[in-house]
Symmetry: C2
Subunit: 454 residues, 2 copies
Amino acid sequence: METHTGIPDKLKLAVLERIKPTEPEKEKLLAVQEELALQVKAAAERLGIQEVLVIIVGSAARGTWLSGTHDIDIFISFPEETPRKELENLGMAIAREVAKNAEYAEDRHAEHPYLNITYKGFDVDLVPCFRVASASRIKSAVDRTPFHNDFVKPRIKGHEDEVLLLKQFMRGGGVYGSELKTQGFSGYLTELLIIHYSSFEKTVWAACSWKPGVKIDIMKHAEIEHAEPLVMVDPTDPKRNVAAALSLDKFCMFIDHCREFFKSPELRCFFPTPLLPLEDSEILERLEVRKSTQLAIVFKTPDVVEDVLYPQLYKMEQAVAVLLKEYDFTVIKTGVWSGKTKTAVMLELISGTLPNVKKHIGPPVWVKVHAEKFKEKYQGVDGVFGGYIENGKYVFEIQRKYPTAKGLLEERLISCSLGKQVHQSVERGFEIIEDVGICRLKDPDFRVFLRGWM
Amino acid sequence: METHTGIPDKLKLAVLERIKPTEPEKEKLLAVQEELALQVKAAAERLGIQEVLVIIVGSAARGTWLSGTHDIDIFISFPEETPRKELENLGMAIAREVAKNAEYAEDRHAEHPYLNITYKGFDVDLVPCFRVASASRIKSAVDRTPFHNDFVKPRIKGHEDEVLLLKQFMRGGGVYGSELKTQGFSGYLTELLIIHYSSFEKTVWAACSWKPGVKIDIMKHAEIEHAEPLVMVDPTDPKRNVAAALSLDKFCMFIDHCREFFKSPELRCFFPTPLLPLEDSEILERLEVRKSTQLAIVFKTPDVVEDVLYPQLYKMEQAVAVLLKEYDFTVIKTGVWSGKTKTAVMLELISGTLPNVKKHIGPPVWVKVHAEKFKEKYQGVDGVFGGYIENGKYVFEIQRKYPTAKGLLEERLISCSLGKQVHQSVERGFEIIEDVGICRLKDPDFRVFLRGWM
């Protein structure tokens, strides 16, 4: 068994000093929460809606939120037997009543509609849900949240700092957040890790030796197998993996981050130096040093939430790589960046140009009918350079249809399998920008992305 | 069953007119053969060597030689129990006596030494051999030849024209000759095909439907399995495949040639138009149209017979392709040309240049010890562009060691697995010639090769 020297208390304190909510911050948040709960109740009464309960959930409710984040989750709970449509209508009616006092309100949609408001500077979700008897009987994903709250709250008491350290550490490693964009660790998962391993240090130490398939089952009640790299059996639902959204790469990035931390436990593991936008001159310099081909497929950012957008962008990234490979281009890597107005799918290729001549391998000569058809199709045809037999197969040297990656993408991108909104946006117009042309993309956030990219 | 219309007699006659030895030609050859046989006997007597027999073998002895070829094979046969060394010494002594009357003589070496002489314009091999009781008891490969002669001679009588047609047809298709350079059909194999299928036409028709594994066993006495594409069990040796030297591609080229012939039975199937040397302007034009990279590895032709040289060149061709692929270059095709003074291994590549950046994929992050070692080796090292995790594995973008194929070959060719004489020649010096540089190679025979190549 490997051992490790403990993490200096001084370091932990230095981190906590920056991330732990101050007493005034806590009081403020608790007061706003209370205020909102009362408003929900009042609204329900005003609207004559019976049997509504208000549940305050999330990290704010459990004292595990990072200073500076201002998220409050208020669940508006209806009896289990309420018809879905009624829950949606009445729940949103109550939320809209509350929103009358908000600075800003926006309808959002997960499985149900819910309301996101800005209230006294806080980012508040007002979420209608069913009040079911147990987490295994939920009617909608959000119904689970109150059970998570009930499980975590009593067990995390006294360990809130450990959760804060772990969350910030994951942020520093770029693996915090379970949205479809990040595919990392959720807040709830982080809390369960602390409950299981008992401290930040022990969690990080254990993770250094994680392997895909590691399974944590706090309640020892798992009912099914899961294929994801990390399995954290939901203490409130034996069938569910809390870490289902965690991708293999984020899982590995976390392992790597933990190992680096034990090699040199430093503040920068929690607060990495922010990357600066890449300057034009640096782009040119890096292009010259790498001598590969950089391509950016640029189009208008579709007007949808990130949880809808990113899966479509990742799908596009894959589809484009498959298209390029199909036409003999060698893809070094792919990436995705999306800003307020523009989105770019990035591709690095061994070369954006291929020779005109393409080796087209046919059937073995002795498979008579196929071989003869193949030969007839190509022999002596315009644009066919020549033919020969290799390894018993007919080979014709034919004119390559797409000798440039740019030309290929311009003609075939639209026929790739793309998600709905991305397809719509690409259909309206896109641009293939190559190498130095990338300097035309000035968005500072894109330039920050570019520093990590090339 | 497919059928075919017969080959016009007119065509066969037109071919035979060009390839069948005339009566005077036949008389001359028979006279010279007789003369040589007498000289061998006289020489043996003069030298006091007992029990020597003279055997005239080969196509000249069987009336199946093509007009214009002037090959005579005279075997000097010793009793089976003669010690090998004695056979070689006495056999060569007799041959040298005969050579006194020759225009030219040269020692050659297969399993034994033998003498090649030019005598009255004929290319004569004087070959010492053992007189064994049956072909399965041979002491040297040449001992088999007299048995072949005995088998073929009585059976081919009256079918000589069919053999001539088939031999010329194979020449026209570039598949005649069983030397290690050609890897095609030997004269003996051609004769056996005619004995088996009974005519030129039936042989060619049957071959249209050949598949690898086709087996002909005239004596129905095969004793072992063979892996070669065509198996012609030697009628004089049940363990031997007469077609062992025939490569898969030559086998397929013959099938293809036969099919083409039935589609349009024309004189050019026997006598294709000779290719003209490719002009400089044509080289430039073709380079421009293909836009691939052409490389020629040029070195002095080693002074060895073709049967030694070509296997080494084919080996080099393979080794070089493997080297290039190992360093990420994409080889379209390879070829070999060898002239009197210079030899060239030809390579066509997708590109002779690769980017500086190379994606170096390491072990999965969770294979802790390996992964940590890999990361330590590359992280932050000079010439490493960056690192990330992809599909659970560490990936570093490192500086490519050989960004040009030319540079790679210049530095690593000599460490490839090469045959002895080719290695010696390459060690003394070689040149990597690229694209337009190929115009510097003026040898007309190379330029003919080039017309087929690009």
